[in-house]
Structure formats: C-alpha cells, structure tokens
C-alpha cells in the first residue's frame, strides 16, 4: 500500500504491543501513518509494531511505517529489504498538501543519502536526526553482517519456540535434530544473506540447497547410514532451512 492510495491521509492508532511481538524481529503492521494526529512532522520506521509503538510514544510524532515485511527499519536496511531511495519515494508518495515540513530519521541513517541539503531531492523538507527515541539507534552502523546474523538468530529463537512441542511429539532425538537444523539454517542464512545478491526466492533456494548438500556430505562422511535415512534427514533439514529463510523475507499483517 502506498500512501497516495489513501487520499484522506488516514492515521492508524498507535498499536498495542504484546510480549510475543517484542521478542521477535517480525511484528508486521499495515504500512501507513500511525499516531494520535497529524502534526506536520514525520518519523520514519518499518512496519514493525514494536518500532512504531515505541517511536510514536517516545517522540510524540506521527510515524510513517514503510513496508519492510514486519522488520524494523534497521533490520530491513541490513537485510536490504529497503533502500534510502525507498524511504525518499515513500515521503514523496504523500499527497502534496500533506507533505511534512520535517522528517525525523534515526541518527545512524546518513541523511545525506536521502539527498538532504541538495536542491533536487527532498526540497524544503527538513531532515532531522532522531537519536534518543529510535529503537534502532544503538545499531552497529558499520556491521551489517552482525545485524543480519542477529535477526536470523532471533528468528531461530522464535521458530524454536513454535517448533519445540511438535518436534517433541516424535521424541528427544527429533527435537534436537530439528532445533539444530533451525540453528544451522539461521547461522548460514545470517552469514550469506548479504553476500548473495540475488532475488529473494533464488537466495532462499540457494541457501537451502547449500545446507542440504552440507547435510548429505556430513552424513556420508561421518555416519554409517542407509541412503533412505540420509535422504529423509536431508529433506527435513531442507524444509527447516526453507522455512527459516522464507521468514527472512518478512511477513504480511
């Protein structure tokens, strides 16, 4: 949804956030404006419920939630789900009469890359840093790899919580193998995500295939197992990896 689709400039109320949303990196909301009322100044965030709620409450600004698949702005930039150009485009998609006079960006985001100060980009819109209130302000700016790895491991944590009971139905061995598969998929995805500059689905397929090959090689070298057993275990790892890497594309509300 772009903001220009919404001529009435509808402002969603500040979302309530629960514990489940707080512990995971994915908490998708409808992209759009959030806040109590339109104040002529905008803070930019991803469409992550926790980020939007925190930002709106702490800064008392109207928050423009971009479609980042439910990730926070910092995570979405690290995952390359959005770019500074996307942010600029979203600001320009606002109706002309409702353009903000000020846009607050997290201080770690270089305002220059949005074209602030130049004649051709945001024009009269003033770009201001928003350090204290932004949840991502403590982000290690130059360590994108660490950020992606952190996102992947938080996804592993959440998926492990969801998977633990169903896996336990099939015994402790299934539980340990299942959780280990998720962890392996998380680490490999976190390490390779930014290195593989392909389309998302190709990247998901590539990472999962790589894990499957690793699994087959490991089992062939280290374990004395039948072909069918190796195939079943590899299929299980492949499914776990596909699921986790699909999560890294984000979710819709």
């Amino acid at each position: 949804m772009t903001l220009s689709d919404n001529p009435a400039l509808f402002i969603f109320p500040i979302p309530a956030v629960n514990f489940w949303q707080r512990i995971q990196p994915l908490a998708p909301l409808e992209p759009g404006l959030y806040g109590d009322f339109w104040q002529g100044a905008l803070a930019i965030s991803g469409n992550n419920a926790v980020e939007v709620a925190t930002l709106a409450q702490r800064s008392n600004l109207t928050v423009l939630a971009l479609d980042t698949g439910g990730f926070s702005l910092a995570d979405a930039l690290a995952l390359r789900k959005i770019s500074p150009a996307t942010i600029q485009q979203a600001i320009f998609s606002l109706p002309a009469e409702s353009r903000p006079s000020q846009v607050y960006l997290p201080s770690w985001l270089d305002a220059q890359i949005l074209g602030a100060g130049s004649d051709s980009s945001l024009g009269e819109i003033q770009i201001l840093p928003l350090a204290e209130s932004h949840p991502g302000s403590l982000r290690a700016e130059n360590n994108e790899l660490f950020s992606v790895l952190k996102v992947a491991l938080r996804l592993v944590l959440v998926q492990s919580a969801l998977w633990a009971l169903p896996l336990l139905v099939f015994g402790w061995q299934s539980l340990s193998w299942g959780l280990a598969s998720l962890l392996l998929a998380g680490v490999v995805s976190g390490l390779l995500w930014r290195l593989l500059s392909f389309s998302h689905f190709f990247r998901v397929g590539l990472i999962s295939s790589l894990l499957a090959i690793l699994m087959v090689s490991g089992l062939l070298l280290l374990a004395d197992l039948s072909t069918l057993e190796i195939a079943l275990r590899t299929l299980a790892v492949l499914l776990a990896s596909l699921w986790l890497t699909l999560m890294m594309n984000g979710l819709k509300p």
Binding site: W163, P166, F170, Q173, H200, L225, A236, L239
Partner: protein, 139 residues
C-alpha cells in the same frame, strides 16, 4: 521485495511443518538403529562316510555345523538319509561311489556329506551295494 506470507498463516503452518520435520527425523532415526536380528541359521550335520569296495560302509564322524558347504555329488544307487525315530526320511542324498581299477586301484572312498538338521532327526542311515551303516545322533 514484498512479503508474501501473512503472519496468521505463518503461525498456522509453522507447527504443522514442525510435525513433518519431526516425523522425517524420527523415520530416519528408526532406520538408523534397526532392531538386532538373530540370523536364522539352520544347523547342519556334517557326516564323514567311508565306503568300501567289498564291505559295508562306515560312518566315521558326525558333527554339527552352522554353515553348510554345498558339494555336488554324482547321484547313484547309494544313499545317505537322516531319519526320525519311526524311520521317516527327513532328507536323503543319493551318491555313486566309483572304485578305480587297474594300476591305480582304489578300494575305499571317503565322502563328506552335509545334511540339514531337524528337531525330529534321531539317526543317520547309509546304504551302499555292500551293506548299511547307522549312526545315532547325539544332541
């Protein structure tokens, strides 16, 4: 890059997928550790028989073995049998002792037979053109 999976669908599918993954690991594990099977070995009686040209045969040695060595023997009129207490033949094998004559004359031949065991078997019986021999099996 747009997200394509709604969060509610994700929450519904995730445990189902976990069940499938768990099942695959369990199925793989069961195949990895098969129950220990005792090989079904049928024991055999190994019987050494000396056949004489002009006297009845003699059963020299009988021992129980677990691996049978298959030896092709030319069938003939002589026979070795494994019998029950009431004389019922459980297994028999015909053979043909041929004694060479002339400069390399042979007057006795040694045969090694392998006969399948049976709980009902009590004796081994050998019959040639020169006579018979009986051996009572000891278990």
């Amino acid at each position: 890059m747009k997200a394509f999976l709604p969060i509610r669908l994700h929450l519904a599918v995730s445990p189902l997928l976990a069940l499938l993954v768990g099942y695959l690991f369990q199925a793989g594990g069961e195949m990895a550790a098969p129950p220990i099977l005792t090989p079904s070995v049928t024991p055999f009686w190994q019987v050494m028989v000396t056949v004489y040209e002009d006297s009845p045969p003699q059963i020299e040695k009988v021992s129980k073995v677990e691996i049978a060595q298959s030896i092709v023997i030319r069938p003939g009129s002589s026979v070795i049998q494994i019998l029950t207490d009431d004389g019922q033949v459980l297994h028999e094998q015909a053979f043909d002792p041929v004694f060479a004559s002339g400069d390399f004359a042979v007057t006795k031949l040694i045969f090694m037979f392998t006969l399948p065991d049976d709980p009902a078997a009590v004796k081994i019986f050998v019959r040639t053109s020169q006579g018979e021999a009986v051996y009572d099996l000891v278990r």
